[in-house]
């Protein structure tokens, strides 16, 4: 039986991890490679890197990070943030990432999904979605709207319709981030997660809001998510990946326990 995945997410700016990540153990918390290795050894099922480097000149630093990570960890990892075209995607994949995640660029140019899937295979193309709850309307019947540019720009695009369109274009997976719960540590957006997950046939990674084991348990059961993205809860050492997995297993959720 397929295991539910626990996926730590690392924000990287100019080759360094951001946010006030703190560890009890002796890990260089500024170094994404050391962090990735730490989570790999703790039993992460996959790792997500989100490149928040503002300037284009520094983007090649991320390629170097990807290359070094690929030499140290032997589980899939994905890279997102600022990938605008096939060439950007190709560089990251050749450097050793298993998957690339596209978000704003795909909203602006949906063909990017099709082209990426054709060039590299659907399994490589993750659709990143930043979603906000809105009043249901003609353009957004689901009551959830796509926002882009790090949450700054409303698109008028319905989140569910966009997810289904992206699946048809060849996206292999969805990483679904609820802007309203992101960073709150008050729980995932369960209604949104279940809505998307039950209406597409590709895996959905829930993101935004994990602060307690109950939240992760809820989103993998009631929220119908295939995987849970975790950030602050593991970065601040509230729980380790192993503790999360032990707790989920104790509650009857199938997770990978031996690595």
């Amino acid at each position: 039986m397929l295991s539910k995945r626990i996926i730590p997410c690392l924000d990287v700016r100019a080759g360094k991890t951001t946010k006030g990540i703190r560890f009890k153990e002796n890990v260089d918390i500024g170094d994404p490679v050391a962090m990735a290795r730490h989570y790999y050894e703790q039993g992460a099922d996959e790792i997500v890197f989100y490149d928040i480097t503002a300037s284009n000149e520094k983007r090649d630093i991320m390629i170097d990070v990807v290359d070094r990570v690929a030499r140290e960890i032997f589980i899939p990892f994905s890279v997102g943030g600022g990938l605008r075209n096939l060439e950007d995607m190709r560089k990251v994949l050749l450097a050793g990432a298993e998957k690339v995640s596209v978000n704003s660029a795909a909203v602006r140019n949906p063909e990017l999904i099709r082209e990426g899937a054709k060039a590299f295979g659907s399994q490589c193309v993750v659709l990143g979605m930043d979603v906000k709850k809105v009043a249901p309307g003609a353009a957004t019947p689901s009551g959830y709207e796509m926002v882009i540019d790090g949450g700054r720009t409303y698109t008028g695009l319905d989140a569910l319709l966009w997810a289904q369109k992206a699946e048809a274009l060849g996206a292999g997976e969805i990483c679904l981030n609820a802007i309203d719960t992101d960073g709150t540590q008050a729980g995932y957006e369960l209604t949104l997660t279940a809505l998307i997950s039950e209406n597409v046939n590709i895996p959905v990674i829930a993101s935004g809001g994990a602060g307690h084991i109950d939240h992760i348990h809820e989103v993998l059961t009631r929220g119908k998510a295939d995987a849970a993205l975790v950030a602050s809860i593991v970065h601040y050492d509230t729980l380790s990946i192993r503790e999360i997995k032990n707790a989920l297993h104790g509650r009857g959720v199938q997770v990978r326990q031996k690595w």
Partner: protein
């Protein structure tokens, strides 16, 4: 030296990185002489079966791989490389190399685990029930999990070719083999320590099946 067969199909460097980690010399190559002269051959691949077969044929590697199999070189197929070795695939109606007799089938559109509808592709970590002993699977335990991404699976004509089975709404062959050929539907190069262990075993295997 291990030859990693290069036919434009997917991330060959991830396999090479594992071999580097294990201190095993390898070459990513599509040179027939180099592949035929290698001590072992790894045949990876992701993507669509039809395109992959076309690329292999174009490079003349379909016949080269047939000869590798015939001469007894330890031979490891991964993911798409575990499918193309059969006679044919339901994907694109593609013809395969026919090294092991059988066909590649697609998961049924409606697949359930209890009342939960399962998604296709089968993506993520899952276990392998070992059906019979094989040197490459030595040391693998029932709780070990491996990383899968696929919508099609290999179905050999003879049950005796099935070495491992995985459960996803149905049981499907996830490790198959015959003589000096062993093939895995999952990605051992992306499966953490259990995956590294399988590749390590393969690097020491003499190509004899214990069957």
């Amino acid at each position: 030296m291990i030859a990693i067969v290069d036919y434009k199909a997917g991330n060959l460097r991830s396999v090479a990185r594992v071999l580097e980690k294990l201190d095993v010399p390898c070459r990513i190559t599509h040179d027939p002489g180099e592949i035929l002269g290698a001590e072992r051959v790894i045949f990876p691949g992701v993507g669509a079966a039809g395109q992959a077969m076309a690329d292999l044929t174009h490079l003349g590697l379909d016949r080269v791989l047939g000869r590798v199999f015939e001469k007894g070189t330890p031979f490891l197929g991964i993911c798409l490389g575990a499918q193309i070795i059969l006679d044919r695939s339901e994907e694109d109606g593609a013809k395969g190399l026919g090294l092991i007799s059988g066909e590649v089938k697609r998961f049924p559109t409606r697949l359930f685990s209890g009342t939960e509808r399962l998604k296709i592709p089968h993506m993520g970590w899952n276990r392998v029930d070992v059906m019979r002993r094989h040197p490459v699977l030595e040391g693998i335990e029932s709780e070990d999990e491996f990383y899968f991404v696929h919508a099609y699976y290999p179905m050999p004509a003879s049950r005796s070719r099935i070495i491992g089975v995985t459960e996803y709404g149905m049981g499907f062959p996830s490790v198959i083999g015959q003589a000096n050929l062993i093939a895995m539907q999952f990605h051992p190069e992306k499966s953490g320590n259990p995956g590294l262990h399988l590749i390590h075993n393969f690097c020491r295997w003499d190509g004899q099946d214990v069957e």
